[in-house]
Subunit: 209 residues, 2 copies
């Protein structure tokens, strides 16, 4: 059975674990994580159901691991975007662009987060909302340095950050629901996101308390 190279015990275990995570993510795209079964996941991963327990104590635990993995890619998206000088120059156009593109590439992860944020088990829901709260706070720090905002109360900044993240999530949901190979729809979503953000930013100047 030695295909490529001899695998150490640890490598093999990690590989199976990853196969289980991939299988679960894949299956949950079709019907939602909450409705897939341990047996389906094991089967798709090419493993007997009992072997599942060598890696996770329950489907809930696997779900939490998936949350972590999904938010890791989300954070990477933000980090990469901040490094790009074009993004800072035309922040709104870039944000819409980056959002749609990244969601398209990591569709499975975003679909998982969007769905399970409200539809999942209690534990998974709480984990996702906690991560999103962290995300709002991170964005608030960035926003607080913008010209029109620098002397707002921190409550107000937090509010605006929530407004943005909320819309980001909603736009991500739209991209996820979007059928493949429809560049027209994609452009429409991008344009919609851009205009919504511009409208919100326009309100910045006149805001008081």
């Amino acid at each position: 059975m030695a295909e490529s190279a001899a695998l150490t015990r640890q490598e093999q275990k990690e590989r199976t674990r990853a196969a289980l995570l991939d299988a679960a993510l894949e299956l949950s795209q079709e019907s939602g994580f909450a409705q897939i079964s341990l047996r389906q996941v094991a089967k798709r991963a090419g493993v007997v159901p009992a072997a599942f327990y060598r890696h996770f104590a329950s489907m809930d635990e696997l779900g939490l691991a998936l949350v972590e993995r999904s938010f890791a890619t989300l954070r990477r998206m933000i980090r990469d975007a901040q490094r790009d000088p074009d993004v800072f120059a035309h922040i709104i156009d870039a944000a819409a662009e980056v959002l749609v593109e990244t969601v398209k590439v990591n569709k499975a992860h975003f679909a998982f987060v969007a769905r399970e944020r409200v539809g999942g088990s209690q534990a998974v829901r709480e984990a996702i909302n906690h991560e999103l709260d962290l995300f709002v706070s991170e964005l608030a720090v960035v926003l607080a340095r913008l010209p029109n905002i620098e002397n707002w109360s921190s409550d107000d900044v937090q509010m605006v950050a929530r407004l943005f993240v909320r819309n980001m999530v909603a736009n991500a949901e739209e991209v996820v629901e979007m059928p493949d190979g429809r560049p027209d729809l994609e452009a429409k979503i991008k344009e919609g996101a851009r205009r919504q953000m511009r409208l919100i930013v326009l309100g910045f100047e006149k805001w008081r308390s």
Copy 2:
């Protein structure tokens, strides 16, 4: 003829149907509509599983009936609010107030819509998103008559309506997730919704194209 007990055949049937709908709504509050079973619903409704089929061909069909029922209460909320002269006078404060109060009273229906909008079966999801699109269009008609908006393009008006409905849905989700008997949290959500709407409205004046 008999005033108290005797029920006509039709009345009795409708009563069982309603019991099934109520049972499903109740159970879906605890764990989500997609994870409850036909047998659980029948049991809670006080009926044998096979009897279910006298009223619905499948759980999916029952789900669609629930979507209809839930949006009926949502529409009633808007209709009632428009009749109230106070609402037109202080439109934003009133909207936040009405939203939170109505969601609190009809928690089950809003929870159902919020969850199944993204987490439900394909058919249920599509039905809900269709209803929400109708709702956006209705709101767009109302918004188009506002002073700063009256000569916007219809695309722009639709965009703003989407922004509002999106936030309404998100705020409704928050109220639904809110534990009972926490007037402080409730006030916070209300205040957050109010400020978000004010910020968006501020952008109206300066909007072009």
